[in-house]
C-alpha cells in the first residue's frame, strides 16, 4: 500500500490545523491518557447537556495519526447524544480492527484513517483519543446524577 493512502491530505490538514484544540477549563468531563510506546498524549474535555455532547475539545501532542484522529473526533461527536458518541467510538475501534466497514455518512473525515489498519503498530495512535473519549463519557452518568437539580 502506498504511503499516500496513509498520509491522506485530510489527515495532514487535521494534523497541521487541528480543530477544537483548546483548553476547556470548566468542562465537567475531562480525561487524559498517553501512549507510553511513543509518548503521544491526549486530553479530551467535554460538556454534556441533556444527554448530548454540547461541546468537546482536545489538547495533546503526538504524531499526525493520533492528533488528526483527536481533531476529527471533536468534529464527529459534537452535537451527538452520549450514546451515539459511544457507538461511534465502538464503530471506530471496529474499523481499526478491520471488523467494521465505515459508513461514510457516520464517519465523515474519519474514513481517511482507515488506511492505518495496514500499519498495525500505528493503530494504537489512531485509537488513543477514542479511548480517552469513552473514559470521559463514562463519567457522564455520574456527573448528571451529582449535578444540582435545576
Amino acid at each position: 500500500m502506498a504511503l499516500e493512502d496513509l498520509y491522506k491530505e485530510v489527515i495532514l490538514d487535521h494534523y497541521k490545523n487541528p480543530r477544537n484544540k483548546r483548553p476547556m477549563p470548566d468542562a465537567e468531563l475531562t480525561c487524559s491518557r498517553n501512549n507510553p510506546l511513543c509518548g503521544d498524549e491526549i486530553l479530551v474535555s467535554a460538556h454534556v447537556e441533556n444527554g448530548a455532547v454540547a461541546d468537546v475539545a482536545f489538547q495533546g501532542q503526538g504524531c499526525s495519526i493520533s492528533q488528526s484522529s483527536a481533531s476529527m473526533l471533536t468534529e464527529a461527536v459534537k452535537g451527538k447524544s452520549v450514546s451515539d458518541a459511544e457507538q461511534l467510538a465502538a464503530d471506530f475501534r471496529g474499523m481499526m480492527s478491520g471488523d467494521v466497514e465505515p459508513d461514510e455518512d457516520e464517519f465523515g473525515d474519519l474514513v481517511a484513517l482507515k488506511g492505518v489498519v495496514k500499519y498495525p503498530i500505528r493503530i494504537k495512535c489512531a485509537v488513543l483519543a477514542w479511548d480517552v473519549l469513552q473514559e470521559a463519557l463514562s463519567g457522564a452518568g455520574e456527573a448528571a446524577a451529582s449535578a444540582p437539580h435545576a
Partner: protein, 406 residues
C-alpha cells in the same frame, strides 16, 4: 572466524564493511522490496553468522542444564557456560571471571544492584545520584529502592549541549551520597559522560559507582554488541558481590536450604538462580570473538567516522540535532527532529524505504522533558553500516518532506 579489518602498522585500520555485511544473513533481506538499511542498533544489533552458528552448535550438540546434570552433555554445557564467562571477562577487562554475573542484560543488572545492594545497605537520608540522561532502567529500580529504604533520589542535570553537568555533580556529592549510578553512554543523545572523573569524585566522598553500560563500547556486552537477545550481565567488584544479597532466589543459587533460612552459593553463582540463558551467553562469547578479531579500536574509529558523516549530512538536510556535535563526546547514534514531522510518522515513512530507525521517547522520559520534546527520531550505527546507509537515510528524509509538504 572472519577477520575483516585490514591490518596496518599504526593507528586504527578501516573496517572492511562489505566483507562484514556478508557475515550478517539478515542484511540480505529485502524490506518491502528494498535493501535493508538497519539503523536501530542502539535498540539491538543484528547477529553475525558466527554467533548464530554458536547458538545452533550449542542446541544441536551440547544442550543440557548447567551445574546440575551429571552426564556428558551437562558437563559440556557447564564448561561452555563458564568458558563464556571467562571470555566476556577478558573482553571487558575484568580481573577474574567471577566478576561477571550473567543475566538478561543491563536492566536486570541494575535491578540486581538496587535489590541486592540497595535494599540491604541504603538508609533513610542516604542519597542516590543519577542523571537526567538515564534510561528508565537506571531510574525506576532506584525509585523503588528509595521508596523502600527512605533514601533520596537526586538528579545530576544535563547541560543545554546535552552533556552531563560535572560542575553540578561536584556540588551534589556529599557524605550522604551512597551511590552514583550513571549512563556510560546516553541511548538518546549518544553522550559519553567522563566516567573516570565521575568515579574519582564519587569515591572521594565514599560513594560507590554503577555504570549503565548498555550502549557503551558497542559498544558493551550483550545483545547490542552482536550477542543474542537476553544475553549480557553485570561486571562488579567481588567484595561488593559478596556483601550483597541475592536477587533471584531459586535453584543453584543456594548452598543449603533449611525450612526457615538458606545460605548462598559462592559468587558469581549466588546471582544465577533458575535455568539460565545458556545458549545466549555462549552466543555472546562468540560475539566477543568476532569483535576482538575486528579490533575494538577499529570499531570505535569506524563509528566515529560514520557518525561525523551522518551529523554533517543530517545538518545539511535541515534536521534539528540533539546532543553533542563533537564525535569524541558521543557514540554512534544521532537523535533528531526533521521539520514538523513527528518521529513516529518519520519512522513509518522511512520504513517504507527500507530504512529502520527508532522513534519515541527511548525509555528516557526525564531526558525528553529536559529537551522539551515528546519524542525524537534516532538513527544508530554499527560495524556493518556505511556511508551508503547514511545516504539512504537522508534520501528517505526527502521522501518524508514531500509527503508532508514540509
Amino acid at each position: 572466524m572472519a577477520v575483516a579489518a585490514r591490518e596496518t602498522r599504526s593507528g586504527p585500520a578501516p573496517l572492511d564493511v562489505d566483507r562484514i555485511k556478508k557475515d550478517f544473513p539478515i542484511l540480505e533481506r529485502k524490506i518491502r522490496g528494498k535493501r535493508l538499511v538497519y539503523l536501530d542498533n542502539a535498540a539491538t544489533s543484528q547477529k553475525p553468522r558466527q554467533v548464530l552458528d554458536a547458538l545452533n552448535d550449542y542446541y544441536e550438540q551440547h544442550n543440557a542444564n548447567i551445574h546440575r546434570s551429571p552426564h556428558l552433555l551437562g558437563e559440556e554445557a557447564t564448561q561452555m557456560w563458564e568458558d563464556s564467562r571467562a571470555r566476556v571477562a577478558r573482553f571487558v577487562g575484568a580481573p577474574d571471571a567471577s566478576n561477571i554475573i550473567f543475566n538478561r542484560g543491563t536492566t536486570e543488572s541494575l535491578n540486581l544492584i538496587a535489590y541486592g545492594w540497595g535494599r540491604k545497605f541504603l538508609r533513610e537520608g542516604d542519597e542516590i545520584l543519577i542523571s537526567e540522561l538515564e534510561h528508565h532502567s537506571n531510574i525506576v529500580p532506584w525509585q523503588l529502592a528509595a521508596r523502600d529504604t527512605g533514601a533520596k533520589l537526586v538528579y545530576i542535570p544535563v547541560t543545554d549541549g546535552g552533556l552531563l553537568d560535572t560542575d553540578a555533580l561536584a556540588t551534589l556529592l556529599s557524605e550522604r551520597t551512597k551511590l552514583v549510578s550513571v549512563s556510560g553512554m546516553s541511548n538518546v543523545l549518544g553522550t559519553v559522560p567522563p566516567i573516570r572523573q565521575i568515579v574519582e569524585a564519587a569515591h572521594a566522598v565514599g560513594a560507590l559507582v554503577s555504570v549503565d553500560g548498555a550502549q557503551l563500547v558497542a559498544h558493551a556486552p550483550g545483545h547490542k554488541m552482536l550477542g543474542p537477545t537476553a544475553s549480557g550481565g553485570l561486571y562488579a567488584k567481588r567484595e561488593l558481590l559478596e556483601a550483597m544479597d541475592p536477587f533471584i532466589g531459586g535453584g543453584e543459587m543456594i548452598s543449603e536450604v533449611r525450612p526457615d533460612m538458606s545460605t548462598w552459593n559462592e559468587v558469581p553463582w549466588k546471582f544465577e538462580g533458575g535455568t539460565m540463558n545458556i545458549a545466549q551467553e555462549i552466543g555472546l562469547s562468540a560475539a566477543c570473538d568476532y569483535l576482538d578479531a575486528l579490533g575494538m579500536d577499529n570499531v570505535r574509529a569506524h563509528e566515529e567516522e560514520l557518525t561525523a558523516y551522518a551529523i554533517e549530512r543530517l545538518l545539511d538536510a535541515g534536521v534539528r540535532l540533539f546532543g553533542p556535535t563533537d564525535v569524541r563526546e558521543r557514540g554512534a547514534e544521532v537523535s533528531f527532529w526533521f521539520k514538523d514531522i513527528h518521529p513516529h510518522d518519520l519512522a513509518t515513512i522511512l520504513d517504507q524505504e527500507g530504512v529502520a530507525i527508532r522513534a519515541g521517547h527511548h525509555c528516557a522520559q526525564i531526558l525528553m522533558r529536559r529537551l522539551e520534546v515528546p519524542a525524537t527520531a534516532r538513527a544508530s550505527f554499527y560495524i556493518y553500516n556505511d556511508r551508503d546507509d547514511v545516504d539512504a537515510l537522508v534520501g528517505a528524509l526527502g521522501r518524508a518532506a514531500e509527503l508532508f509538504r514540509s
